[in-house]
Point group: C2
């Protein structure tokens, strides 16, 4: 896979460890959380030092909303989940990142949040690759 | 306080019970969660039946992002918090609502999420009114 790096931007080491690159969107790097308990994507705006969404430029804020909603729609279509959960927390990892998670009745911690619940359960490498491919294809076919 | 109702829109009874009206923005009703553990605002788009952000019209999606980020900035300025947490979950209450929460180191469940943690701790009525006023003034002075 071609490394996805923008000049002057470096990904937080914890985000790098916990998730895998899927696609470069206009503003964000889209990553798949390596946790098979929930289908879980992360958007990381390629803006060094950005922590709060409202500190981005107005254009970046609009782009981020557009990309987040596009990813949410694709994830809902792929998974046929009951509800998309989106969140921007960043209390531990301050580099701005937006979670987009597919939730279904009876999944771990339903109807509570995914954040802070239990421990990450990594995919088998093939399953991770396969799911990342599915996401990529769905988003590119909409594009 | 003048009742804030849009024709054809009715607020979910649980949102109505747990939070108090602050202000009508262009798309959303802005409400203050009656939980003094965290400064916690909720935006409710006045669109009957809306559940997922990506199902809104493109204009509504843009408006929602704008209003959410404006409210986040105001809340951060008022509270001088460490981090804003935003989230759209809706696993229990399906009517679309966006949480904007001011988080500070050492607050209840820091650095975990506010959702699903413990029980609501209501304000004294005067404190609730005072905080709602502060939010209203900050947002209107930016407007």
């Amino acid at each position: 896979m071609i490394p996805m790096k923008r000049a002057g931007f470096s990904l937080d080491p914890r985000l790098e460890m916990d998730s895998h690159p899927v696609l470069c969107l206009g503003l964000c790097e889209l990553r798949l959380m390596d946790d098979r308990r929930w289908p879980w994507l992360i958007l990381v705006p390629q803006r060094q030092g950005a922590q709060e969404i409202h500190d981005l430029t107005p254009l970046d804020q609009a782009m981020l909303a557009f990309e987040t909603n596009m990813v949410a729609q694709a994830l809902k279509e792929i998974t046929a989940c009951a509800k998309i959960n989106t969140g921007a927390l960043g209390n531990s990892v301050r580099q701005m990142h937006i979670h987009v998670v597919a939730r279904s009745e009876g999944d771990p911690n339903w109807p509570g949040p995914v954040w802070g619940f239990g421990s990450r359960d990594p995919y088998q490498p093939e399953a991770l690759y396969e799911f990342a491919q599915k996401v990529k294809e769905r988003i590119c076919s909409h594009g």
